[in-house]
Structures are given as structure tokens and as C-alpha cells.
Point group: C2
Chain length 210, copies 2
DNA sequence: CACGCTAATGGCACCCAGTGCCAGAAGGAA
DNA sequence: TTCCTTCTGGCACTGGGTGCCATTAGCGTG
């Protein structure tokens, strides 16, 4: 059995929660993520073994893999829930808004974060986009992001989401967002929202103006 | 194993004779790729171990890793040389050609193949884009492709290739090409060049027309 | 022919990620 | 206490990938 990680940890949020039977989880995904990120920053991603992380968390190596399917998944945090937010955001965009305009807005919104978290997010994204192993793995996560965009585009165009145009839009939007992220990481003083806005406008004008 | 031919290492590039000193390589990258692709088709990528491949080729496991840095690299064949071709192709495009038009043409050209190879290429690409491990790994190869496009775009725009616009163009072009590839794989009777042409035209018009 | 130079091979030990199995540990409720 | 449940974590095993090093195989020269 894949033994799929993450059950009722119920990390951050309160949720006093109905007292369930059985032994309590020894830790949470959040805790492991934080801990691991510190180790990565200190020793580097590749040099940090799962044993290191488990030891630091005071759990067994085997247990670690019940919280995360792989070491690569550690930096992704609550990505899947964020995707749901984006789906909802798309749903709230007025029908009158042009398709690519909606994509632009939703993408910017998806990547908005409180100023206090900028520093943290930057570190996380630097890991994800600059450590080759993680960059490779990220492709699989990004596929889920593309899926959300393709769903919306397909809906708007009255086409199946698997058709060329919705898929092309989703792929292009992802590519554009990643190029903006790379600029953001390269330039300490840059603003992510602005970079996303600029690059998505380029996309929407077919890179014609200069 | 019939390790006949495959005399000269460095198959492909010139230097027909050039009697070098030292022991002859036991096989070639090409031979290993072919062999492996057959095994993948028969047993699946994940179920085929490096030991299987090495055994089938009649070489030691250790030797395999001197021909390919990883099992994931097997299906990529001569990709790097093909990239050089694309670089040259870009260089030959007349200066009068609009930038995005040049990108469209070069992308289509890069992905052109003799009809006899279509079947083979389809199988290879299905592996690369549908086996999760390989899809993830492919990101790293695609980075090199983007680099070629970004170089050209940067050159044309008079900007460093690392700037937002060249990078955005490269990312978008890659995304578009991949969406075309997915359609091609999904529809047995489709034509890759045509799909690339259609999706790149969409890109160049900012996905505006319908 | 024997020697030395060079370039490749391949066995061995080892590291690390990830998995199946299973015997417990820890909690609530009867 | 006993039962039931959930989570833990040790153990053994697979498979990719690497460092080390002795060995093999070609070539040229004395």
C-alpha cells in the first residue's frame, strides 16, 4: 500500500476537534516543513537526508514517510489548498471579464502574500526553482495548477479542458508566471505582483509591443 | 550479446579512422537507447531496472552509468546536438523576420522529423511526457531549450537573455510547444507541425481571436 | 616480443530514497 | 481491565547512483 501521508493531523487551525480514538500523531506536516526548511538552509537540500529530518523531529524515518510521500514534497506546504482558493477565485470573476484578463488577475491573486511572509516565501521558492531535484519534481505540482487554469479557460471557451486552446493557455500562463518568479528571485528588491502583471500583459499582447 | 559494430566510440561526428589508443568502448549510447526503449515498451519504464538494461546490453551496471548519467537520460538520445541545430537555424533566419514569427518557425523546424521516424518519435515522447518520473526530469532538459530561445530573443531585443521579456518568451514558447505535443500524443492521426503552428499562432496573437 | 601508455570495463562496497510488513505504543470507551 | 482504534517505528529489502581500484584491451615503440 502506498500508505499515503497526511491524515487528520489538523495542523495550524484550531479545530478543537472531536476527540478521536487511537494514538495521537507525533507531529504535524507544518512542523516537519518548518524544521526541514531550516535544515535545508543550513546544510543544503541534497546534503540533508531524511534521517536528519526525522531525527531532528524526534520521529522514526518510517514515520516521516507517512507525513510526506517524498522528501521533495516538503517545501510545498499547503499548495493543494491554495489551488482550491484559486479555483474559487476564478469562479468569482465576472463573466464579462475577458478570458486572458481573468487569467492575469487570478494568477496575480494566487501569488499574493502578506508582506510578513515574503521573506519566507522567497526562500521556499528559491529552493523549489533552483535545486534541480526540486525543480524537476515541481513539474508534477505545476500540472495541477495548469489544470485549474485549463478548466477555467475551457469553461469560458465552451471547449473541453483537454483541447488545444485551453491547454495552450494554461501552459503559457504557467511559463509566464515562472519567468516572473525567476526575475523575482534574481532581484532582491523586486515586486512579484508587478513582475507577474508585466509578463502576463506581454503574453496577452502576443509579445508584440516593445 | 551481439555487440558487433559499434567500433568507434563517439559515433556520429566525423573522425572516421583516428585510431585512438586504449581499449574500445563496449557499446554506444545509441545502442543502449534502442535497447532500453524496447525494454520500456515491453515491461514499462519503472519496472525496467538498470540491471536489466545492462544485462541486456552485456555490460556491467557500473559501465552503464558511464554512458548515461541516469536512467532518466536514456530516452533523450541526441537532444543536445539537436539543440545546436536549432541555434544554427535561428542564426540563419533573416533579420527582417518579426521576433515571434522567427520563434514560431524555428520551433516548428526543430520538431520536424522524417515520416519514417514519426512512429518512433511518438513512442519516445509518450514516455517523456507521460511517465511522471521522466516528465519531471524533462524539465531540466527543457531548460536548455528555453536557453536557446532566450538567447535569440535577447539578441533580437537588445536585452540580456536573462531579462524578463526574453525569459518570458522562452517559457511561453516551451509551454505552447508542450501543449501541442500533448495534443499530438492524444490524437493518433494528428500532425505535429500543424498543431505547433496553430498553438504558436495563438500565442502570437495573445489568445485573442476565437 | 615485451614494455609502457592510455582508455575503457566492471566488480565491490557504500549511500540514500522509498516501501511492505508487523509488532507494539498510546489513546478513548465499555 | 479489556477491546478497539490509530499511529509509531524497527527491520529488511529494492533500486538508483557513486567512489575506488584492479583488470582488460588496444596502440605504439625499442
Amino acid at each position: 500500500m502506498p500508505d499515503d501521508g497526511a491524515r487528520n493531523g489538523t495542523a495550524g487551525t484550531a479545530a478543537p476537534g472531536a476527540p478521536r480514538p487511537g494514538r495521537r500523531p507525533a507531529t504535524t506536516r507544518d512542523e516537519l516543513t518548518h524544521l526541514a526548511l531550516e535544515l535545508f538552509a543550513a546544510k543544503g537540500f541534497d546534503a540533508t537526508t531524511v534521517d536528519d529530518i526525522a531525527a531532528a523531529a524526534g520521529i522514526g524515518r518510517r514515520t516521516f514517510f507517512r507525513y510526506f510521500a517524498s522528501k521533495n514534497d516538503l517545501p510545498w506546504g499547503d499548495f493543494d489548498e491554495r489551488l482550491e482558493d484559486m479555483r474559487k477565485h476564478f469562479a468569482r470573476i465576472p463573466d464579462g471579464t475577458p478570458l486572458m484578463e481573468a487569467v492575469r488577475i487570478a494568477t496575480i491573486e494566487f501569488n499574493r502574500m502578506p508582506p510578513a511572509e515574503v521573506r519566507y516565501h522567497r526562500e521556499r521558492m528559491a529552493l523549489l526553482l533552483r535545486v534541480p531535484t526540486l525543480l524537476a519534481h515541481s513539474t508534477l505540482r505545476f500540472a495541477a495548477w495548469r489544470q485549474v487554469v485549463a478548466e477555467f479557460a475551457g469553461h469560458r471557451l465552451g471547449l473541453p479542458e483537454g483541447d488545444l486552446q485551453p491547454q495552450a493557455i494554461a501552459w503559457a500562463a504557467l511559463g509566464i508566471a515562472l519567468s516572473a518568479y525567476e526575475q523575482w528571485l534574481d532581484h532582491e528588491d523586486s515586486d512579484l505582483s508587478e513582475l507577474l502583471d508585466r509578463s502576463l500583459c506581454m503574453l496577452n499582447s502576443g509579445f508584440s509591443s516593445r
